[in-house]
Amino acid sequence: MLITCPYCGPRDVIEFTYQGDGNRQRPQPASQDLDAWNAYVYDRLNPAGDHNEIWQHSGGCRAHLKVVRNTLTHEISSVAFARGDHKAAMRHKAEGKS
């Protein structure tokens, strides 16, 4: 499996570290909404198909990346830096546009 890092180019998956489900929405640290925390910690979509994920290019530029990977074929359809537009992406998702 190759992941095309936006900075380094195509690299073997061995250089990358999986950082978890990219769909999670972390509640505000002070939040006492237990359902929101429960969803953040436990609820996963587990789709058979395209999946939003966070990966880190730990064996390269060390950037965190937003990756869309197909869980059936391992096809990577999108890679972008996680930094910067993360909040915009979260808003996008919250508005039900994803």
């Binding site: 900075y7 380094c8 690299r11 064996g59 390269g60 530029c61 060390r62 950037a63 930094r83 910067g84």
Partner: protein, 200 residues
């Protein structure tokens, strides 16, 4: 600065740095390995949005202009610079004290300067088979059009993180963690045996 000793020369593995010809050298020496021992190895990082100021600062101090693009870099044989991550650069000088030269140029508002001179070991591999030997180590494209002179790459070999800069058409400088340098050097020697190598 504290006096440095090469990790390749520490007992009991001082024999690792055996100068002379090794491996299958009867048919010619296709790779030359050496430790370059630069006086300064720095890591410079810009805060988001401050990258251009940092690049200008690098030019002011080193005289080296950074070309555009990810992993771009340049070298004049004495000083070298290359990008290894977004907004982050490795700067190397044969002389010590480069960190002090940056102190007044890269201000806290622009970014950070981290002196890694004691933490990295610089290994040079040169010769007509340098590309070929490195291709056994790292799953990246070493061909000249894909990896031009001056450019840098961050990658790893068996979990040993390595920064590689091409400093000539058939010459690469590899920066590895000092604590991994001896095992990496040994592996590089083994990999070079079949093409014949010389340690300088």
């Amino acid at each position: 600065m504290v006096e440095r000793q090469s990790p390749l020369e520490l007992a009991p593995l001082e024999l690792e740095l055996r100068t002379g010809s090794h491996g299958d050298f009867e048919h010619g020496i296709d790779v030359i390995l050496s430790e370059t021992r630069p006086g300064s190895i720095l890591q410079l990082a810009a805060w988001p949005g401050q990258e251009k100021k940092l690049i200008a600062g690098i030019r002011t101090v080193t005289g080296l202009a950074l070309p555009d693009g990810a992993g771009a870099g340049s070298t004049d044989g004495v000083r070298s610079v290359f990008g290894f991550a977004p907004g982050k650069f490795t700067v190397v000088d044969e002389a010590e004290g480069l960190g002090l030269a940056f102190a007044n140029v890269v201000t806290p508002a622009i970014g950070t300067v981290t002196d890694l001179s004691h933490g990295r070991t610089a290994i040079r591999i040169a010769g007509p088979k340098a590309e070929w030997v490195l291709a056994k180590f790292f799953a990246i494209d070493f061909a000249l059009p894909a990896f031009p002179v001056g450019a840098g790459r961050s990658t790893m070999h068996h979990d040993v993180f390595a920064q590689i800069q091409r400093t000539g058409a058939d010459q690469f400088d590899i920066y590895v963690f000092r604590s991994f340098a001896r095992s990496f050097w040994k592996a590089l020697c083994h990999a070079s045996e079949e093409v014949g190598y010389e340690v300088q």
